[in-house]
Amino acid sequence: MSEWFYIRLALGLAWVVIGGYALLLHRRRVAAELALREMGGEE
């Protein structure tokens, strides 16, 4: 396999992991804020 295969694999993995974690945190934040608001725990 050419060196570009490994470069694309590595960069793709890094971007997916970082982007995926950012997305996961976003969803967890929205869920946590919503849950707390529903319980009347937020102003």
Binding site: M1, E3, W15, I18, Y21, A22, R29, L36, G41
Partner: protein, 241 residues
């Protein structure tokens, strides 16, 4: 009454800097990656494969910073017994685990075309894999008990002891004969590569600060919700009695 005090509502508001800083960190990361990848010339030995260094090396550097934050927050928790330090340590450990796993995976992808192997029991690789296992253990340990104070004390002990491996990982390439290269310095690297590495080191650092800040904020919200549920259950029991 529940032992966990309910945090005041004002302390639960999202820090104003968090989301704008998150966007800044993401845009800086995109810019740093584009600059490094588009401007860098092929290396004499590695060719274009050196482009993998712009994610592998910053990820490794920032993972060590993450575990240093776990260490400091763990010490502060044991000294002051303030649960916020435990939450900071947990947040930094989670991000550190992700970055260490990423470092190992990226190193492996780089190693296959360069060394001809995906993995070898080289001291740097082995100590890094042990580092990952220690902090995966740290994360697992946190789910062993519901008692907040006990969980924080156990985690702080592991967070402090686990950090002993970080200098070993860093020095492993100097202490033992190893296939992994020793740390580069600006004197041993072409200036083009230094700019790319520095930009991406800051990009990963900014992302780390954002991730830890967000993870800490979510932990505070989840803790407040747990305290609220506990209080409701207590009231329901009192009414029943």
């Amino acid at each position: 009454m529940p032992t966990t005090p309910t945090p005041s509502t004002s302390s639960l508001s999202r820090p104003r800097w968090l989301l704008p800083f998150g966007w800044f960190a993401v845009l800086f990361f995109v810019g740093a990656q584009a600059t490094a990848l588009l401007l860098s010339q092929p290396d004499r030995d590695m060719g274009h494969l050196q482009k993998i260094m712009y994610v592998h090396v910053p990820s490794a550097w920032v993972s060590m910073i993450a575990f240093f934050v776990v260490f400091v927050a763990s010490v502060l928790f044991l000294l002051r017994r303030d649960i916020k330090y435990d939450m900071v340590a947990a947040a930094a450990a989670e991000v550190g685990v992700i970055l260490t796993a990423l470092t190992l995976a990226l190193g492996s992808i780089w190693g296959r075309p360069t060394w001809g192997i995906w993995w070898t029991w080289d001291p740097r690789l082995t100590t890094t894999a042990i580092l990952l296992l220690i902090y995966v253990g740290y994360m697992s340990l946190r789910s062993f008990t519901e008692d907040e104070d006990r969980r924080a004390r156990w985690a702080a002990a592991v967070g402090i002891l686990g950090f002993l491996n970080v200098p070993i990982v860093y020095m492993s390439v100097r202490w033992w004969r190893t296939i992994h290269q020793v740390q580069s310095t600006p004197d041993t690297v072409d200036p083009y590569y230094v700019i790319g590495l520095r930009l991406n080191a800051f990009a990963f650092l900014f992302l780390f600060i954002f991730f830890v800040g967000m993870r800490y904020y979510i932990a505070r919200l989840e803790r407040a919700r747990a305290a609220h549920l506990e209080q409701e259950a207590f009231v329901a029991r009192e009414v029943h009695v």
